[in-house]
Amino acid sequence: MVTLVMPRLISFEGTGRRAASVTERNIATLRSAYWVVMISGFLEPVLYLLSIGVGVGALIGDITLPGGEVVGYAEFVAPAMLAASAMTGALSETTFNFFGKMKFVRLYEGILATPVRPIEIALGELAWAMVRGVIYSAAFVVIMTLMGLTTWARAVVMLPATFLVGLAFGALGMAVSTIIRSWQDFDLIAGGQFALFLFSGTFVPPTAYPDVLRWLIEVTPLYRSVDLVRALSTGTLGWLQLVDVLYLLALLAAGLTIAGRRMAKQLCK
């Protein structure tokens, strides 16, 4: 009855169901070849963890966290790889693939002729990106725990955190995809993503940089993600992680809003 009284303009009735139908479409496209893509995406952070975390870590020794706790280098790097893989998983689906579906195969034009709305496509695609991201994260968390880099209890709490990281980056990726014009622009995205991966407190604590750079690093989304996941992984949770969570939630909301609006503007001319 409420929906009959409420103005239709702000109705979200059926939004969840319609977004789920978009996710379902992606699941229907799953073919054997996709698992190859999945495996390569999963292997990447594991290889970094082994080569740099364990390998280079043997030369570096221990690291002191901002709170004063001392951890091994692999323990320091592992949660950062987890956060970075959540980012990569989400971005791979919401940038390249999303852009192609929107601009080239005109998939969304067909979907928008049904009751599904632009924001619901965005939500459905984001959910789909999360399916992939969660599989990456879960596998990586298991490896971390087996290597003794965190505990099972912490691993369980880290999963929802990586989920939030994935959501925020997925929404950001979609927003960026609605703004860029051509495939060439993806080189810029890839470059930016790699810079984030190298400098967001992943391999080196931001305190090692000059103040200006440190400030710059600390406002990047991957740094906030690494900070959150690392605090959970090493058991050094504080108030600062609340900032991380709020930051990522804000990014999620802003990304989705921009993506939904720009999709409507471009597809519903």
């Binding site: 929906t3 009959l4 103005p7 239709r8 303009l9 059926g14 169901r17 319609r18 139908s21 978009v22 379902e24 479409r25 229907a28 496209t29 195969v105 005109r106 998939l107 034009e109 067909g110 979907i111 928008l112 002729a113 049904t114 009751p115 599904v116 709305r117 597809l267 519903c268 001319k269």
Partner: protein, 326 residues
């Protein structure tokens, strides 16, 4: 489906038009893209169960009109009501009752024929089992049974078009919008599409289509409007339009000599109207045989004489001109 979503029972304050029986009601409908006016104030009423056509050359505003009716393009100004609802506010509810066959196929190339239909049904909230049932039924309806599990990629243009039509029917729509349904198809494929559309019409589905094929409009449309430059320049049934804007018959005369113009003066006075084309002269007349006799009486001996019934093409070219529009 949620019964509260039915247009007849939804209490959103929008007016229904049961008296006129208008499924689509437009008054002074305008669509602008920046400085360009694609649709320049049109009035349209489409009644339940009829096949309604938008005719016009490229750029006449047909597709823009169809996109507004399909609730994927907001009108710039004017009144537009579809199934008694306002597309600006009730887009999803209206689209739930529409079937759309766009000008360019946008089938899902990653899915099979059957999956294209079942997946599309899910966008309308149709249960999986029912979606499969409808998919099988529609695959049969558009004669794609042998290709049901094939990907879309290798299908011919005609097959893709039929699949697009099947997809537009998966939600059992009250109105089916077809934007140039047979453009680019070979004659066999066109006739199959026409035949299927005719069957739909017999089942009481309201069809709204755009075309620039006159034979298509004459075959399918009960009523049509001719659009040119974003405006409606004529409206009526194919028969009444021919009666109003053309003559009953047309005589086509071909003269051997290079300049057909030279004969224009000599033919003056025969029939209502005369048109000189580079290769022939058209006489618009009530009685073709009488006109031919008059041509011979004036001792003119054309190399070729063709007397034919006037068609929508004559109306169309008369109203929108012969100039090429791109």
């Amino acid at each position: 489906m949620d019964p509260t979503n039915h247009p007849a029972t939804g209490s959103t304050g929008t007016t229904l038009h049961p008296a006129e029986g208008s499924l689509i009601h437009a008054r002074g409908l305008i669509k602008r893209f920046g400085d360009f006016t694609a649709v320049d104030g049109i009035d349209v009423d489409v009644r339940r169960g009829e096949a309604f056509g938008f005719l016009g050359p490229n750029g006449a505003g047909k597709s823009s009109t169809m996109r507004m009716i399909g609730c994927v393009s907001p009108p710039t100004a004017g009144v537009l009501e579809i199934l008694g609802l306002d597309p600006r506010r009730d887009g999803p509810r209206i689209r739930a009752k529409l079937g759309v066959c766009p000008q360019l196929d946008n089938l899902d190339l990653e899915l099979t024929v059957r999956e294209n239909l079942t997946t599309y049904a899910r966008f309308f909230g149709i249960a999986r089992k029912e979606a499969r049932r409808r998919a099988d039924e529609l695959i049969e309806f558009v004669q794609l049974t042998e290709r049901a599990d094939s990907k879309v990629e290798p299908l011919s243009g005609g097959m893709r078009r039929r699949l697009t039509i099947a997809r537009a029917l998966v939600n059992q729509p009250e109105i089916v919008l077809l934007d140039e349904p047979t453009t680019g198809l070979d004659p066999q494929a066109r006739h199959l599409v026409w035949e299927r559309l005719f069957r739909l019409k017999q089942q009481g589905v309201t069809l709204v289509l755009t075309t620039h094929y006159m034979d298509e409009a004459e075959q399918l449309c009960d009523r049509l409007v001719v659009m040119d430059g974003g405006r409606i320049v004529a409206e009526g049934s194919p028969r009444t339009l021919i009666e109003r804007y053309s003559t009953r018959e047309v005589v086509e005369l071909r003269f051997d000599t290079a300049g057909q113009e030279a004969y224009a003066d000599k033919l003056a006075g025969i029939g209502e109207r005369l048109e000189v084309l580079p290769d022939r002269i058209l006489l618009y007349v009530a009685d073709g045989d009488a006109a031919t006799a008059e041509v011979q009486r004036r001792s003119l001996s054309p190399a070729g004489v063709l007397v034919r019934r006037s068609g929508l093409e004559d109306v169309f070219l008369h109203l929108t001109g012969r100039t090429l529009v791109d």
